[in-house]
């Protein structure tokens, strides 16, 4: 099982299907653009509390207007009913000049003029899975199979988790700091590994992860997996 998970992860970090045209996009550039232009209004995880815009988890090739709880503009609702799908080509057009593509969209964004910028951003969005395993500061990385396969000591995990709970909320709510409750172990292992090795940026998390051993990462990940909201 752990073997399979490892493989799934490396696939999710590469690019699939109709996104292939964007396979050569610069992910780091895309990530930087996302942070700069999109992140204040759009989360990357469907578990995140909504910002002013809908989350963009797995948006590429998704049907338009599908984020539950978000009140889309009438214009977008109509386009969605008419069958709009966010293929890379459609996203490319939309992002060039949103109000030209969809006159009454709620999105107050002037657009990205540079074709290469749009290309990189869409490439970045295309490798976001539904849990928002993204926000990667650098390009793809591999989590060692041995780390993914480690069994975690639940009692040690419970103790270590107390440090996390100062910032990460038990309620399951999240916005900037994600909740860890009931998160699949392989996701947390991947995230902590990425922080520890510098693939993912956040000063506080890099600092915390830097002193975690493989065993401690496994203990934490397996403990949080057992917790319900």
């Amino acid at each position: 099982m752990q073997q399979i998970l490892g493989v799934v992860f490396s696939i999710s970090l590469s690019l699939l299907g109709t996104s292939l045209a964007f396979a050569n996009g610069d992910l780091a550039q895309g990530a930087a653009l996302f942070k700069k232009k999109c992140a204040s209004c759009h989360a990357l995880s469907e578990e995140a509390r909504a910002l002013s815009g809908p989350h963009l988890a797995a948006i590429v090739d998704a049907r338009a207007g599908q984020v539950e709880g978000f009140k889309y503009s009438k214009a977008l609702q109509q386009a969605a009913t008419a069958g709009l799908t966010w293929s890379p080509a459609q996203l490319d057009q939309f992002l060039t000049h949103p109000k030209a593509f969809l006159k009454h969209t709620k999105m107050n964004f002037i657009g990205l003029k540079g074709a290469a910028d749009r290309h990189n951003l869409i490439a970045f969005l295309a490798q976001t899975d539904k849990t928002g395993t993204n926000g990667l500061a650098k390009a793809s990385f591999d989590v060692p199979e041995e780390l993914l396969a480690l069994e975690g000591d639940l009692e040690y995990g419970e103790y270590l988790s107390s440090e996390c709970m100062t910032c990460h909320q038990r309620s399951g709510q999240d916005m900037t700091i994600p909740t860890l409750m009931n998160k699949p172990a392989h996701e947390l292992v991947t995230a902590l590994f990425a922080y520890r090795e510098g693939y993912r940026e956040n000063q506080a998390m890099q600092l915390i992860a830097k002193r975690l051993t493989d065993e401690e990462i496994a203990a934490l990940a397996h403990y949080f997996e057992t917790l319900k909201n």
């Binding site: 700069k36 038990r170 600092l207």
Partner: protein, 421 residues
């Protein structure tokens, strides 16, 4: 069998297995008893974790005089108009519902021989382990001309609550072009960036409502926490409004006259419209009454936060003298978890894991302009020692600063639910 404290902690699993639970606490009562004095970031967290993790095997009593606790952290955001007063208030109902005996009273004495805490209301609480987390009190005579009887004219607002409301009302009542003065405290004190975040938040409020007002800070220190970040922000957002006078320019030579509303800095007397005096600090008084202080603070062992004076009395947070951690709510919360793990282990035989500490202090310079400083720590024989750290950089983009502020909002929700359930 002889076990040193260090040996016991270090080989806890083996040691705990050797010593069965009932032999670990004296007395004839059914369950071991923990009394926690002080319901802030240290005490509330320790009480909650001991009760939660021992699943009813330990009797936990929390003594806290106030029914609604106002956090010092984020109280500056209330002064700046970024948060409402109710946003920083918390009650103890969830802790009580989780089985903790919450007693709203003042602890006024500790008999360490009889292991009893006496309360102002007249009753006494027996304990096997006592955790003191009383926060700070002020050193008498620290600022010439100021004492607690002048705290209405010149509030400290360094214990949040009515003092915060009072200071805010005085800032709002300042005449156009008026002067706000702050007397900053000497090291060590609660929340190192706190006074400077407060200056920022007062400036934030004044820049919107009283843009010609001035802020003067008399500081006994030559430098302060996140100084470069604050000064960059003050220049960018509040140019010309803030005059910081450090010790090199006479900032330590200060006296106040609360009845005349004047402050004298290095011999020069200035009329002020609002004056925030933050005096030198010491451990909350119950620590001294318990006889576990040495000077202004209570020295503790880094491995479990037990005091040097008494292995059954622990001191958390601001009141402790522990080494490299700043006196902050985050630090107290972090220390509480290490302490809770050790206390529970000592009383029930549960596994004691090695101490790990962390701290992050977020500060808000202007709306959406957040910065942070953080570090990790470990327990050594001498003290809690810093391992590694980070600090926000000057010149960061507005997006990063906003992200940092949003992060602090989530942290606030996280830590307060970690404290109060």
């Amino acid at each position: 069998m002889s076990l040193t404290r260090r040996g016991f902690i270090g080989n806890s699993a083996a040691a705990a297995a050797l010593l069965s639970a009932p032999s670990l606490h004296a007395g004839s009562h059914a369950k071991p008893r923990v009394v926690v004095v002080g319901g802030g970031a240290g005490g509330a967290t320790a009480a909650r974790y001991i009760a939660k993790d021992s699943k009813g095997a330990v009797d936990v009593t929390l003594v806290e005089p106030t029914r609604t606790y106002y956090t010092c952290f984020f109280s500056n955001l209330y002064l700046g108009g970024v948060k409402e007063f109710d946003d920083i208030g918390h009650t103890y109902g969830k802790l009580a519902a989780s089985g903790i005996n919450v007693v709203h009273d003042w602890a006024i004495g500790v008999d360490r021989d009889k292991k009893m805490v006496s309360l102002a209301g007249g009753s006494a609480l027996p304990y096997d382990k006592l955790i003191l987390s009383p926060g700070i009190d002020f050193v008498e005579g620290a600022v010439e001309g100021w004492d607690l009887s002048s705290q209405n004219a010149m509030p400290h607002a360094y214990k949040a609550g009515s003092q915060s409301e009072l200071l805010k009302a005085q800032i709002m009542a300042m005449p156009q072009g008026g002067t706000y003065a702050m007397v900053a405290p000497p090291n060590p004190y609660r929340c190192p960036p706190g006074p400077y975040e407060r200056v920022s938040m007062v400036a934030h409020y004044l820049s919107q409502h009283n843009p010609t007002a001035k802020i003067i800070v008399a500081d006994p220190k030559p430098k302060f926490s996140k100084m470069a970040l604050f000064q960059e922000g003050w220049n960018a957002h509040y140019a010309g409004m803030i005059d910081w006078i450090g010790s090199e320019f006479g900032g330590e030579n200060v006296s106040v006259d609360p009845s005349a509303m004047t402050i004298s800095i290095d011999g020069e007397s200035i009329n002020v419209d609002a004056c925030n005096v933050i005096p030198a600090m010491k451990a909350g008084r119950i620590a001294a009454l318990a006889g576990v202080t040495d000077g202004n603070w209570a020295p503790v062992n880094a491995a479990d936060m037990s005091t040097k004076a008494d292995a059954d009395v622990y001191v958390l947070g601001d009141a402790s003298h522990q080494g490299d951690m700043p006196k902050s709510g985050f630090s107290a919360n972090s220390q509480a978890k290490v302490c809770a793990n050790a206390v529970r282990g000592a009383l029930t035989g549960s596994k004691i894991f090695p101490a790990k500490f962390a701290n992050t202090c977020w500060s808000l310079i202007n709306a959406d302009d957040g910065v942070k400083v953080g570090a990790t720590y470990k327990a050594t024989d001498e003290k809690i020692a810093k391992v590694d750290g980070f600090i926000s950089k000057t010149g960061e983009t507005a997006d990063i600063r906003k992200q940092t502020y949003l992060e602090s909002e989530d942290w606030y929700t996280g830590i307060t639910s970690d404290m109060f359930g």
